[in-house]
Subunit: 194 residues, 2 copies
DNA sequence: CTTGGTTCTGAACAAATGTTCAGTTAAATC
DNA sequence: GATTTAACTGAACATTTGTTCAGAACCAAG
């Protein structure tokens, strides 16, 4: 046998995904060319096709990996009160998304650039995440811990509010992650009438 | 003199802007071609250049017109209590954005596809709108009507929450505009600790 | 040093892009 | 009916696009 499989590919491969992530987040999928990605990696455009069958898969894989990470990290609500479950979720969402601004940006800005089949897959995962929060609210309402008229709407409102953080929050700003978590948790808690 | 200026252009002109609006909102600026817009209007691509100097201006004009409309319609806070001002703003935002889903979508999804000069113009108007809300919150805090720790953050949170409505609300759904306004106003009111 | 196989280059491909423009069409005025 | 001019066509342009592929370069094992 000769050179073992992926002797360079385990270096170049991640760099390709990383470059695609950066560029897609900054300029948008449709505005980024394969040559641009290749140039950022320091390679010719043709070489990218050792690591992805096509441009679309590059986007899809990035989104899928992100959704897998998110869903795998959602805090387990078992044995926690409704209020604690909600607090866990809010703090988790902020902290998790805080360290992945590019992934988050792509995950909800580039949905329309997915092929219909790929879109269906990602959308299913997105709804799974939302249903986590909806479950918490539903249960809390039943238990009398929350006072929301429509848990579905409250879910949308909370998610939109939390995800919006990424549009303005930058590391090294005047506020720490903990301060942001505290303030948003306060707003969410009062908004659900607790 | 002959044919008066714009004898057709006052028909085709708006149709060009309308087609661009629709397509930009659905597929994104970068993914839409001039030929696609022309085809929707029922005209050849070259004819579009009677109505816009280039593709970028088409996007910029749409965003600018929207921002002008929004800023011109913000309710006047004069002579209203802090609480009423906030309620006015929340209900206005929902109602106004409700009738213009495409414009809203473009206005915050296509910012990165503006040239730097155009971006600066739009961004200035966007911040002007946000500062309306921030003023209301600031004044309300001073008057003791609200209890928010940081009005700047509360501003972002409320705007994100309200703008998020456009991602799920469709006319003819199970909820009326008024019902949505009521529920969001309830959440905002409690979130600012009133 | 030879061999075998992975990784990349560099050129090529057809298709699509934004934009220009000479020329055709058609309507309003005289 | 002749003239004038706005509105549009249709072809052309230089670039850029995603993708393919033969061959060079390179490295590790025998």
């Amino acid at each position: 046998m000769a050179r073992t499989a992926g002797s360079h590919s385990d270096i170049t491969g991640p760099r390709v995904r990383q470059a695609a992530l950066r560029l897609f987040a900054r300029q948008g999928y449709a505005a980024v060319s394969m040559r641009q990605i290749a140039s950022e990696v320091g390679v010719q455009a043709g070489a990218l096709y050792n690591y992805t069958p096509d441009k679309q898969s590059l986007l899809f894989d990035l989104m899928q990996a992100h959704m897998r990470d998110v869903l795998g990290a959602v805090p387990d609500p078992k044995g926690r009160s409704a209020m604690d479950q909600l607090e866990d979720f809010v703090r988790f969402h902020i902290a998790f998304h805080f360290g992945r601004p590019d992934e988050v940006f792509i995950a909800y800005m580039e949905l329309r650039n997915l092929t219909p089949e790929n879109f269906e897959v990602i959308e299913k995962q997105r709804k799974l995440y939302e249903s986590h929060l909806e479950q918490i609210l539903d249960n809390g309402v039943s238990a009398g811990a929350f006072a929301v008229q429509d848990p579905k709407i409250a879910t949308f409102a909370v998610i939109a509010m939390l995800t919006g953080i990424n549009t303005w929050f930058r590391e090294g700003g005047r506020l720490s992650l903990e301060a942001v978590q505290d303030q948003y948790w306060h707003m969410v808690r009062t908004a659900v009438g607790a």
